[in-house]
């Protein structure tokens, strides 16, 4: 407890300084995400926005370094799929830029255009240890949702570090519904769209419409069709996953990942053989739809055992609750996934899927996204005590903490609570 108090004082002192600091972070346990494994009494040194050393105590302490102690230290967590920053209040249309059901465009919709670094869910997500986000648009007008992006959670202008990082395409029941009413129609749309892109020159020479896509949509989908950009498919039923794998085999240059994949365990060996990574919500264990009849809380574990790269996310209320992926991962462990694999599902796996270099690990030379925790990061009772992004100490404040602090004491005998902040 005393250590924690010292810790929070140190963090308080550091909070206002938003410069790349020199910091030495001590952890009773340091999960590195590398071959160094989990270090007991580990030390991570941060200099100029990069990690310069990862080892065990005692460590070299650079002059002027801030020293921080915590129970656990991990790389900044990476949310592999969410709408964080696209929506301030999901149910308020004016404050939600996730999807555009009435848009004339689809694949060309660039989610980055709707991103607001001031959105309050960003700080809320950062406070739970997430430093990087892969954000996807919602597919609302066609099965092509548009272009997803990668961002950090500093909440600063310029926090998107890769626009158009992936093309998002929805299959299964949603894709069927968006294509006119059946999976058959969805696949006709998908194949037709690929043809539009492949015959772009001829098809759009004299008009704007292809068989499926407008000129702008076809142009936007081009990198994905050429295999130069990741295509992230959303699908759950085993037959849908097999159809995606058939498609990938017909088009071997495609760079494919799948989000959802509730029945992925049934086709895990094939996914592994084709090196298709999956992004799963390990809470899913109900036949919530006819596409999820074989959902099981062991899905993530079984996929990983088969050799599939697995990222873990929380898919419900994904504009505000991406942060719950740590709880989901902890539950995956309770259902048989090794702790190390579950941690990778929040760090190295998403980094690999989205090509985020030097992120997701604590290693010399890596970008200094570092989180210090008051306990095991996958325990529901744990929380970060300090978060660094590119070596910069992040404010541990959100609109939620401000509301909490205002209402902790309800005494307004002197003044209304509205004066308190």
């Amino acid at each position: 407890m005393i250590r924690r108090m010292m810790m929070s004082l140190a963090v308080l002192a550091a909070a206002p300084v938003a410069l790349a600091q020199t910091v030495v972070v001590y952890g009773e346990k340091v999960w590195t995400g590398t071959s160094q494994g989990t270090l007991e009494d580990g030390v991570v040194v941060i200099e100029n926005g990069r990690i310069t050393s990862v080892g065990t105590a005692p460590a070299r302490v650079p002059a002027g370094a801030l020293e921080v102690r915590a129970e656990w230290v991990t790389p900044g967590l990476i949310s592999a799929f969410s709408r964080t920053g696209l929506s301030e209040v999901s149910g308020v249309d004016d404050a939600n830029d996730s999807g555009a059901g009435k848009s004339a465009f689809s694949a060309a919709l660039n989610a980055a255009d709707g991103f607001n670094p001031d959105a309050t869910p960003i700080a809320v997500t950062r406070l739970e240890g997430f430093t990087r986000l892969a954000v996807a648009p919602e597919a609302a007008s066609k099965l092509f949702g548009g272009q997803g992006f990668l961002a950090d959670t500093t909440g600063l202008n310029g926090s998107i570090f890769e626009e158009r990082a992936f093309a998002y395409v929805v299959l299964g029941e949603s894709g069927a519904s968006l294509s006119g009413g059946s999976r058959t129609a969805a696949w006709a749309s998908l194949r037709g769209a690929f043809d539009d892109v492949r015959f772009f020159g001829a098809r759009y020479m004299s008009h704007n419409e292809g068989n499926v896509l407008t000129r702008m949509d076809a142009q936007a989908l081009m990198p994905a069709v050429r295999g130069e950009q990741l295509i992230l498919f959303q699908a759950s039923r085993a037959s849908d996953l097999n159809a995606i794998m058939d498609f990938q085999e017909e088009n071997p240059s495609l760079n494919v990942a799948i989000v959802g994949a509730d029945e992925g365990w049934r086709v895990a060996n094939r996914l592994a053989a084709l090196e298709i990574p999956v992004i799963v919500d390990a809470f899913s264990n109900l036949p919530a739809s006819f596409s999820q009849l074989a959902a099981t809380s062991e899905n993530a574990k079984r996929l990983a055992e088969a050799g599939v790269t697995v990222a873990i996310v929380h898919l419900d209320n994904d504009s505000h609750q991406a942060r719950l992926a740590t709880q989901v991962a902890g539950n995956a462990v309770a259902n048989g996934m090794p702790f190390d694999v579950a941690m990778k599902a929040l760090t190295t796996a998403p980094a690999e899927i989205f090509g985020m270099t030097d992120l997701g690990v604590l290693a010399p030379g890596a970008r200094a996204d570092v989180v210090a925790w008051d306990g095991d990061p996958l325990e529901v009772t744990s929380a970060p005590v300090a978060v660094y992004i590119d070596g910069e100490s992040q404010p541990m404040v959100s609109r939620q903490t401000k509301l909490r602090d205002r209402y902790r004491n309800l005494d307004e005998s002197e003044r209304p609570l509205a004066f308190k902040r």
Partner: protein, 462 residues
């Protein structure tokens, strides 16, 4: 807490059961009557005398026993202590390293009414034909084959309240169930549990009627003030109906007014969906205007702003650990809501409103507990467990029968693989009235609903 009124002779003459008005519920007779037309047919399943030893026992009343023992006999808790002897012929479980708690009670579920799979044909949770549908009873929508019941059981849920949805000002009657698989909802109904009434504040009624669906009969409410006028209008009619009953008159039966009059008399417990603090404050006034009591506010994401007033009034808050931001009235949700309500001396309950969340309410409580601790609200785990069992039992009027491990109460008991406030802990054995209904290590003691038979994944680990 209840405002039961004396039964008048004239009413006794009207109905078969001497003291019961239509819909009062709560009697255990298994023959349908006007007073209780859909009686519970639930009977505890066979159980054996069982002594669980060496466990960390949370007794549900706020106590914790290290190396504790729990004795179950005839489906009831017989004793809790440290030095209990196994009666002759009793089964024993050495639960070293494990924890034993009262079964979790979720007082806000839509299982069965919005079952899995969530197809339109299954959407039976909201009778949106009008803003006041106090005449509907959610038990008539509950599909007992919802696979969600089995998942909840695996999460240690032994009783639950099914509520109608929140589209309406008055959504209808709720029902309290024992979480046992059954062929009919009657065979799940918690014997002797009072009926409840679902009401709703705020955005949902005005959205469903005013904006989303203004063409439905009435078209009102369009606004929060329309909501309040709607409640008051209905209570005025109900008060008049109740006055006639109390005076010994026999007005034409009216299903809507029977339920509302039951709420006014305190026989039917009012459970009210309400997010915002200012709206809860107004609802408490309305309840005083008409002389009823709100038993629990549900969702109550802003209870922390008026925790003192809720404590003074005596309403429970049924809350999520950390849901927020999905709509305007959920915008001010904070993870410390539950501990702040508890700390003010008000009744705190962890609820799910979700077929996913219901599977791990212990973890939801754990999050709230830990977030409270970080701001200096240091509640022992065994006290916090009351958010999961005893407080929801109180809110359903069944705390004399379940919700804690006290001698004579139903043996609704969970054996956990470890500390239930950990992500890594699973419910290993779940007993309902002493009968083993779920065993994580024995596929033969894991129910599989009809819907899942013959489907991919049948009988898999869920």
């Amino acid at each position: 807490m209840h405002f039961r009124i004396l039964c008048l002779a004239a009413i006794a003459g009207l109905f078969v059961a001497s003291c019961d008005r239509p819909g009062k519920g709560g009697d255990e007779a298994s023959t349908p009557s006007i007073a209780n037309p859909f009686p519970s047919t639930y009977k505890p399943y066979p159980s054996q005398t069982l002594l669980i030893t060496n466990a960390t026992v949370i007794d549900g009343k706020g106590g914790l026993v290290e190396k504790g023992a729990v004795l179950i006999e005839d489906g009831k808790i017989k004793a809790v202590g440290t030095d209990l002897k196994a009666p002759d012929g009793a089964a024993t479980i050495d639960a070293a390293g494990k924890w034993v708690t009262p079964g979790i009670i979720d007082n806000h579920s839509h299982l069965g009414a919005y079952p899995s799979p969530g197809v339109d044909s299954h959407g039976d949770g909201n009778e949106i034909s009008g803003p006041v549908t106090a005449e509907v009873w959610v038990e008539h929508s509950v599909w007992p084959q919802d696979p969600g019941f089995t998942r909840a059981l695996a999460g240690g849920i032994t009783s639950l309240q099914i509520l109608p949805g929140s589209a309406n000002l008055f959504g209808g009657r709720g029902v309290t169930l024992k979480n046992v698989p059954a062929r009919s909802v009657q065979a799940m109904k918690f014997p002797g549990a009072p009926y409840t009434l679902k009401m709703a504040c705020g955005e949902n009624p005005k959205r469903v009627y005013g904006y989303g669906n203004g063409s439905t009969p009435g078209g009102a409410p369009f606004s929060r003030m329309g909501n309040v006028a709607g409640y008051r209008d209905a209570w005025i009619k109900a008060a008049d109906y109740k006055r006639k009953l109390d005076a010994g008159e026999s007005p034409t039966r009216d299903l809507e007014l029977e339920t509302l009059a039951g709420a006014l008399s305190g026989d039917i417990l009012v459970h009210m969906h309400c997010y915002r603090a200012d709206e809860m404050a107004q609802i408490m006034d309305i309840s005083k205007e008409f002389g009823y009591k709100v038993t629990a506010f549900h969702h109550a994401v802003e209870s922390y702003k008026i925790a003192d007033k809720l404590a003074e009034y005596g309403a429970c808050s049924s809350m999520w650990a950390d849901w927020w931001g999905f709509k305007m009235e959920a915008y001010d949700g904070i993870p410390e809501n539950i501990p702040l309500v508890h700390n003010a001396g008000a009744c705190a309950i962890v609820h799910s409103d979700s077929e996913v969340g219901i599977q791990r309410l212990n973890q939801e409580a754990a999050k709230a507990w830990a977030d409270g601790k970080r701001i200096g609200i240091d509640v022992p785990i065994e006290v916090a467990w009351q958010w999961l069992s005893l407080n929801p039992a109180k809110s359903l009027g069944v705390d004399d029968k379940t919700g804690s491990l006290e001698p004579g109460k139903m043996a609704d008991v969970v054996i956990w693989s470890g500390n239930p406030f950990s992500s890594y802990t699973k419910a290993e054995k779940v007993y309902v009235d002493g009968a083993l209904m779920f065993d994580r290590n024995d596929p033969a003691i894991q129910p599989v609903m009809d819907f899942e038979l013959g489907q991919p994944g049948e009988g898999d680990r869920k």
